[in-house]
Every structure is written in structure tokens, then in C-alpha cells.
């Protein structure tokens, strides 16, 4: 049980400089050896004196948002007024038709049974810190809405004993707290009433973004805004993306001894592959793997070099309906212009959630172009008989991470497993898995956020349950002498795993490597003379 003194909901509005919790690494749930001794690990980086001076630091000692302290009381009051206006807009049909019904259902029917708490990987991994309990932020938000956005709210709040004050401390803490949640919705899955604390957190983020213009810069200025302007949050412009892939094509052609060629802007192709540019830069084997598989199966496919047609991410799904709509619309407009029959969504979980479901009711009329997951696309190819496989090439321990946005949110569970059971003789499941999986700790946009010391939170707290279950899945070969493969078919999950790997030194200590699904498929292709998975370069 956490050492911090019991927290009340009203503490959210207490004196500004006062932190609500201090996270002590010794209080986190233990990890299996050799990670059970915290001494050899980096610990939690404290904010520098300069950062403490400049930045709001009143929550838990982490800072994801680097929110500057306001200059004066007037500025504080201005933000508080804007927040209050935003609370009201969330309840208006015109402004929030997109999520009004789910939001109100979740706000009005929680019975405070706390069944959801034990499902939350962040709360559990933290040693049950009250501040990370799914209902902590949700209940505060609910009480604020009831008090400030509903008629007679102030009077009723007093009568019901549910009075929380809206002040600068409240909103500055809530802003950070909204980014201590992975939006993984494991809590929602366990709620007997059907209340969705993940949704409530997203609505809170949305209020900050759509009304105050507050959002993590990695998701907004350097995220969706940059994507719509130059093509990708990575800053990769179309010509540079093309150059990079041309170079990668040559490189892999040479190393594999087969022709690898990326197709760009092919009119009327059957398939537009929508990768994430982050894969081109950080995990190019994935993008090349797709090209090899598609060519081997005789698929008519193309990539797009139009802004942002080579960048499938859509961070809007994490924080802002307007940006979500803009990015999703651009994606399908590009597909329509190319005249493709369908979009195949690449190895990116939230791209799936955005395009397959959340934006489905925004993409109406001729924007409604069929959109399919790479999981079913690959399954169809692998079992079509068009490619010959030799599964003995993948005869090493393999386990599978289920990206929340594909599995828990979309219910795409088995296609990837059928492929792995066929192509990987030593495939084993994690516990729990499938729709009961744990988030990697990078969900909800955290994977791409790295300001101040938030990476320590991602590695030590948010990703802890995932890391623990990965280690347990390979407990028969704990050391580095046996090389093991964690299949994580999602760019953001891989970015988060990289943070965990660096923090704990996983590759050196445990010999676990991670990559996508395409790599395992290509590695098992019988006609490929050389191995595609190159352990030395992962």
C-alpha cells in the first residue's frame, strides 16, 4: 500500500505548490529478477531547480507537459474561466455531438464501486497510488461538471457533499493527471455498469485542447499540426520520405539478394498501404517487410507521397475531435484521389482505431472508402498459398503483445495469432492476453511524449505491468543466451518498448528483442536465402 497520506478528492484544489503524491520506486510492484533490485536501475529523475522554478509541478513529481507557471492571478483566472466554459460545451449537442451520449452515460451512472481500479495497470503498478486510480480523475471531473455545468449545480454540490472548487490548482493538476492514463480502457471493460473512465479522461483532454488550446506539444504542434502541414509529426517531408525509402530499398535489395522496390503514387492500385513515418525512420524492416510480402503475393499496392498520405498516425484520437477529423479526412481523400480499392492500415494501433471505428461516422459519402487492418490482410496472404513458408526459420521463442487499440478496442484478436501459431513453432502467449491484455504503457499518446521526466513514468510505472508479463512469458529462458522475439505490431507500442528497453537494459540482460509481425512473416519465407530478422541490428 502506498506510503503517501490518504488523498481526498478535494485535495486537487489545494495550495498550488503542494505535490499530491511522491512516487517512490520502492513502492512500485516488484519485477522478476534481474530487475528486482532497484539499486541498479536509473530511478526517477527529479526536476532541476530551474524546471521547478518555471514549470507547474504540483501533482506527482513528473511533468509530461512542461506547463509554464502563469505570470499573475489574472492569467490564472482567465484559464479557470475558459475551463468552466469548456465544461459547459462538453454538454452541448452542437459542440460535442461526437461523444455526448457516451460521456453523459459515464458521468451519470458510476456507483463508486471501485471494481475498475484493480483492472488499471498504472494504478496497480504504482503500488496503488490513489492519484492514479481510474476513478480519482473521473470523479473529480464528474463533480466539476455537476457543479459548474449543470443548472443548480453549485447548490446541489453543497447539498450532496460533493463540492470541489475550480481554481488554478485544480485545472493545472487535472491537465497533468489527464496524461497519466493510457486510455487503454481496461478499467472500462471491468466496470459492471459500463462506465468508461478512459472516455472521461479523453473528454477532459479534449476540453483542454479544444477550449484552452492546451495539449502536449508532441501531440499537437509537433503532432497533428505538423502532420497536416508538412506530412508527419516526425518532420519527414514527402521528398525525404521517398529518398529514405529509395535508400532502404537499395540497402535491403543488396543485403537480401532479392529485388525490393517501394511503389509510390500508383493510380488505381488495389491497396493503399498506410504506414507510419516513424516506422520508416525507426523500424524500417517493418515497411520493407510489407513491400516484400505484397510483391511476393502479387498484390497491386502503393504508398502515397502526398501530405500526409505516408503517415498513418492520427494523434487526434488521443486528445481532440477536430484534429482527429482533419487527419482522418485527409487520409481518405488521398486514397480517393489515387482511386485505390481499399486502405490497408499498417502496424499502428491508434491509426486502426481512428480510421476503422472512431472516424467511421465522420467519413461519410464518398469519403467512406473501405479500410482494412494489416492483420486480416496478412492472414489472407499467409494462408492463400501464394507464398511458401518454412516455419523452422522462426524457431526461437516468440510472444505477442496485443496493442489495445487493435485488440481491446477493435476486437481483432485471432488473425495475428493464427499467423504466429503457423509460422513460429515456439510461440507462447502472455498472461493475460487478447482483449484482457495490459497496455504497453505508451497508450493514449504517451509513447511519443518525452518532455521533462515523463519517460521515467512510462518506463517505471505505466509500462511496468507489461514489462513484467513479457519477462514472465519468457521465464523458461530468462538470460541473454537465448534470443527471444517480442512481436509488438504497433509503432507506438514499439516506441514505448524502446523506452522500457533503454531504462532497464533489457536486450543485454534478458536477450529479448522486439519488432513487428511483418518481419516474422518475411523471415519465414522459404525462398528468402538470408534471414530477414537481423538480431545484431535490432
Amino acid at each position: 500500500m502506498a506510503k503517501n497520506k490518504p488523498l481526498k478528492l478535494t485535495d486537487i484544489s489545494r495550495e498550488v505548490e503542494d505535490r499530491l503524491a511522491d512516487i517512490d520506486i520502492e513502492e512500485l510492484i516488484p519485477l522478476p529478477p534481474p530487475y528486482d533490485k532497484n539499486g541498479g536501475l536509473p530511478g526517477i529523475t527529479q526536476l532541476s531547480d530551474d524546471q521547478k522554478q518555471r514549470l507547474v509541478n504540483n501533482l506527482d513529481g513528473f511533468s509530461a507537459l512542461a506547463l509554464p507557471k502563469p505570470k499573475n492571478k489574472e492569467e490564472e483566472d482567465k484559464y479557470v474561466r475558459q475551463f468552466e466554459a469548456g465544461l459547459k460545451k462538453l454538454l452541448r449537442k452542437g459542440d460535442n455531438w461526437t461523444f455526448l451520449q457516451p460521456l453523459l452515460l459515464s458521468l451519470e451512472h458510476c456507483v463508486r464501486c471501485q471494481t475498475c481500479s484493480e483492472a488499471c495497470p498504472v494504478y496497480i503498478a504504482s503500488g496503488r497510488q490513489e492519484i492514479y486510480r481510474p476513478t480519482y480523475r473521473a470523479e473529480i471531473f464528474r463533480r466539476l461538471i455537476n457543479k459548474y455545468a449543470k443548472p443548480g449545480g453549485k447548490w446541489l454540490a453543497k447539498l450532496k457533499g460533493a463540492d470541489i472548487e475550480l481554481n488554478w490548482a485544480t485545472i493545472s493538476r487535472l491537465f497533468e493527471l489527464a496524461y497519466r492514463c493510457n486510455l487503454c480502457r481496461r478499467c472500462s471493460q471491468h466496470c459492471p455498469i459500463g462506465v468508461d473512465n478512459g472516455l472521461i479522461t479523453r473528454e477532459l483532454r479534449k476540453l483542454f485542447s479544444q477550449e484552452l488550446g492546451w495539449a502536449p506539444k508532441e501531440l499537437h504542434e509537433k503532432g497533428t499540426v505538423l502532420q497536416l502541414q508538412v506530412g508527419s509529426p516526425t518532420g519527414l517531408r514527402p521528398n525525404v520520405a521517398k529518398d529514405n525509402l529509395e535508400f532502404l530499398d537499395e540497402d535491403f535489395t543488396e543485403s537480401l539478394g532479392i529485388k525490393v522496390e517501394t511503389v509510390w503514387d500508383k493510380k488505381d492500385a488495389d491497396v493503399l498501404l498506410l504506414h507510419s513515418a516513424g516506422d520508416i525512420l525507426s523500424f524500417p524492416e517493418s515497411v520493407i517487410g510489407f513491400a516484400i510480402i505484397c510483391d511476393a503475393a502479387g498484390i497491386s499496392w502503393t504508398l502515397s507521397s502526398e501530405i500526409p498520405g505516408y503517415e498513418g498516425v492520427n494523434y487526434g484520437v488521443f486528445y481532440d475531435d477536430v484534429q482527429l477529423a482533419r487527419v482522418a479526412t485527409r487520409h481518405v481523400q488521398i486514397a480517393r484521389k489515387l482511386g485505390v480499392k481499399k486502405i490497408v492500415m499498417g502496424e499502428c494501433g491508434h491509426e486502426h482505431k481512428a480510421l476503422a471505428t472512431v472516424a467511421d461516422r465522420l467519413l461519410i459519402g464518398d469519403l467512406n472508402i473501405p479500410r482494412e487492418s494489416f492483420m486480416t490482410f496478412f492472414e489472407n496472404i499467409v494462408f492463400s498459398g501464394k507464398i511458401k513458408f518454412d516455419p523452422t526459420k522462426n524457431d526461437f521463442p516468440v510472444t505477442l503483445h496485443d496493442p489495445c487499440n487493435v485488440v481491446r478496442n477493435l476486437g481483432i484478436v485471432e488473425p495475428q495469432r493464427r499467423i504466429l501459431r503457423y509460422l513460429c513453432p515456439q510461440f507462447r502467449e502472455m498472461t493475460p492476453h487478447g482483449v484482457d491484455n495490459y497496455c504497453c504503457g505508451g497508450g493514449g499518446g504517451l509513447a511519443v511524449m518525452s518532455d521533462v521526466n515523463i519517460n521515467d513514468f512510462k518506463a517505471a510505472v505505466a509500462g511496468r505491468m507489461k514489462f513484467k508479463q513479457i519477462l514472465e512469458a519468457f521465464s523458461d529462458h530468462p538470460g541473454p543466451e537465448v534470443k527471444k522475439y517480442l512481436c509488438a505490431p504497433c509503432l507506438n507500442c514499439k516506441l514505448q518498448l524502446r523506452v522500457i528497453w533503454d531504462y532497464y537494459g533489457v536486450q543485454e540482460k534478458s536477450g529479448i528483442y522486439f519488432g513487428g509481425l511483418a518481419e516474422l512473416i518475411v523471415n519465414a519465407m522459404a525462398d528468402l536465402k538470408k534471414p530477414f530478422i537481423n538480431w545484431g541490428e535490432m
Binding site: P6, L9, A85, K93, W97, T98, L100, Q101, P102, L104, L105, S106, E108, H109, V111, R112, Q114, T115, E118, T135, E139, L159, K160, Q189, P192, G194, D196, S209, Q210, L212, G213, H220, Q229, D320, V322, Q323, R326, T329, R330, Q333, T357, V358, A359, D360, L362, I364, G365, P370, S373, M375, T376, N380, R408, N409, L410, G411, I412, V413, E414, V435
Partner: protein, 303 residues
């Protein structure tokens, strides 16, 4: 108390209860179509529901026929309503109190139905032997309901107060609700114990209520029990206890709403996206009179 007081009192409360509940349900139904936000497992997905799979697991799903089955949905709902399976699985220490409270309520409702049936028997002159059996059953069900309901309500009150997982989240209204429920059950026990023949008194009261008999009477503990229960019925629609109905919507209208857009929906969506936005975030650009449609159709995202 006797006479038309009871008729006025109970019928007005029932009427208000129905009106407020209808209003709440209608306001949920009249909310605009929302963006999809489903969550696996979606139980109407035939066969795949077992592991949480959906129709999106089909290659080119848009060309395939969808297979739905409502049996798993019914089985799930029955497990939740009758056994509180979710709480049993995920929150075992709460289950004994939650289960007894809910069963207390169910049994009291069943006993009320039995009193109604007995009232009909009295009106129709059913043989005494049959009535005795039903009254006996109603009496037993009633007292068992009151006792286990009391255990549940009082137990939950203590749990809320003593367990740090609940205390901070329990406002005055959370305790008030439980006190109210406990008052129903405990007053029920007192009425039952202090009455010579509780089931007969209740059956006669129910008959008089339905036949608008001016001789209707209830006194002492029974009157107090009926008044507390009736006021609770009026209070209920204003609380989160309406989840006995609204849970249907949290599941069917959100978690399990995996319908792709169709023609009927598109008509509604066109109206919704024509609405102007008033959000003040600078990137929304609502000062330019943007509507959802502007953003979705006219590439307004481009700077």
C-alpha cells in the same frame, strides 16, 4: 392513516416515477448519434464473442454478411443481474454486500408482485387454501428480502466508511442512499414482526389501493414502511441507481455499438456536421464560422 390519502400518495408517486424515468430514458434516446467507441468483447458477435473478436477480423469485412446472436447478450445480462458476475470476478470483497443488497431489492419487488396477485385472488374469490399458499410465500419472500437487504445496505455503509478504497469517494449522498435503503428494509422487518398477519394486511391494502376503496388503511409500522418505500421510489430516478435501466444504454449504445455507418445514420450525420462549432481553442478556428462539415469536407485542416 386511512382513506384517499393513500390513493393520492401512492398514485402520485407512481405517476411521477414513471414520468421522470420516461424523461430520463427519452433524453438518452434523443441524444445525437455519436462516434464509434466500442469495446471488446462485443457479445452479439456470433462465435467470436467467446474470445472478444469482432467482424473486423474478416478479410474485406465490408463484403461479408454479419452474423449476430443475442443469446450471449442475454446470458451475460442474466449473469450480471442474477449473480453480479462482474463484481464477483473483479471485486470479490464487495460482492457479498452488493449481492445481498440487490437480492433484498429483488425479493421485495417479488413480494410486492405476490401481494398484487393475492389482491386479485381476494377480488376474484379464489379459494382460501390457494390464497394461503401465496400469502405464505409472499410473507417468507418479504422477510427474507428485508433481512438480506438490511445486511447489504448496512454492510455497504460500513464498507464505504471503513475501507479507504471507498471512503474518499463517498459523498453524503452516497451514504444517504444507503441509509434510505436500510430504512426500507428495517422498517419492513419491524412491520412484518409487529403485524399479526403481514401478508394478509399487505394483500388487503393492495386490493383497496387498486379498487380505490375508501376504507383503505395502514397504521403504525406498516404505514411507516409504506411511506418510506414510496418516497424512495420518488427519489430513485434522481440517483445513479437508475443504472438498472440505463445500463442497457451503456452497453448497447456505446460498448456494443459497432454498427458501421448506414444510409439512415448518414442522414443524421449530415445534419450534425452542418452545425457550427463554438470551441475557443485557436486551432479550431470557430471564429471563421467553421462547422464540422467545413473541416470534414473542405480540407479546412490545411493552414
Amino acid at each position: 392513516m386511512t382513506g384517499f390519502f393513500w390513493h393520492f400518495f401512492i398514485y402520485i408517486i407512481l405517476f411521477l416515477f414513471l414520468v421522470i424515468m420516461a424523461y430520463r430514458i427519452l433524453s438518452i434516446l434523443r441524444m445525437p448519434v455519436h462516434l464509434r467507441w466500442e469495446l471488446a468483447p462485443v457479445l452479439h458477435d456470433k462465435e467470436r464473442y467467446r474470445y472478444g473478436g469482432s467482424y473486423l477480423e474478416e478479410y474485406e469485412w465490408w463484403g461479408k454478411e454479419r452474423h449476430k446472436s443475442y443469446l450471449p447478450v442475454i446470458a451475460y445480462m442474466a449473469g450480471e443481474i442474477l449473480l453480479m458476475k462482474g463484481v464477483w470476478k473483479n471485486n470479490r470483497s464487495l460482492w457479498p454486500f452488493s449481492f445481498t443488497l440487490h437480492y433484498g431489492i429483488y425479493l421485495v419487488i417479488i413480494s410486492v408482485i405476490l401481494h398484487f396477485i393475492n389482491a386479485m385472488f381476494i377480488v376474484s374469490g379464489t379459494p382460501a387454501a390457494v390464497m394461503d399458499v401465496f400469502r405464505g410465500i409472499a410473507a417468507v419472500i418479504g422477510i427474507v428480502g428485508y433481512i438480506i437487504g438490511s445486511i447489504g445496505a448496512v454492510g455497504l455503509m460500513f464498507k464505504r466508511y471503513l475501507d479507504r478504497n471507498y471512503r474518499a469517494y463517498s459523498s453524503f449522498s452516497a451514504y444517504f442512499k444507503l441509509i434510505f435503503l436500510a430504512a426500507i428494509f428495517i422498517s419492513g422487518i419491524i412491520a412484518w414482526v409487529s403485524s399479526v398477519n403481514y401478508a394478509t394486511e399487505m394483500s388487503v391494502f393492495t386490493r383497496d389501493l387498486f379498487t380505490l376503496d375508501s376504507g383503505i388503511t395502514a397504521t403504525g409500522a406498516l404505514a411507516a414502511h409504506i411511506i418510506i418505500t414510496s418516497v424512495f421510489v420518488l427519489y430513485l430516478p434522481f440517483t445513479d441507481m437508475v443504472h438498472f435501466i440505463t445500463k442497457f444504454f451503456t452497453y448497447h449504445s456505446v460498448r456494443w455499438d459497432d454498427e458501421p455507418q448506414d444510409e439512415k445514420m448518414v442522414k443524421k450525420l449530415r445534419d450534425l456536421i452542418a452545425q457550427p462549432l463554438t470551441w475557443s481553442g485557436p486551432h479550431v478556428k470557430s471564429d471563421r464560422g467553421n462547422s464540422w462539415g467545413d473541416m470534414v469536407q473542405k480540407e479546412n485542416g490545411k493552414e
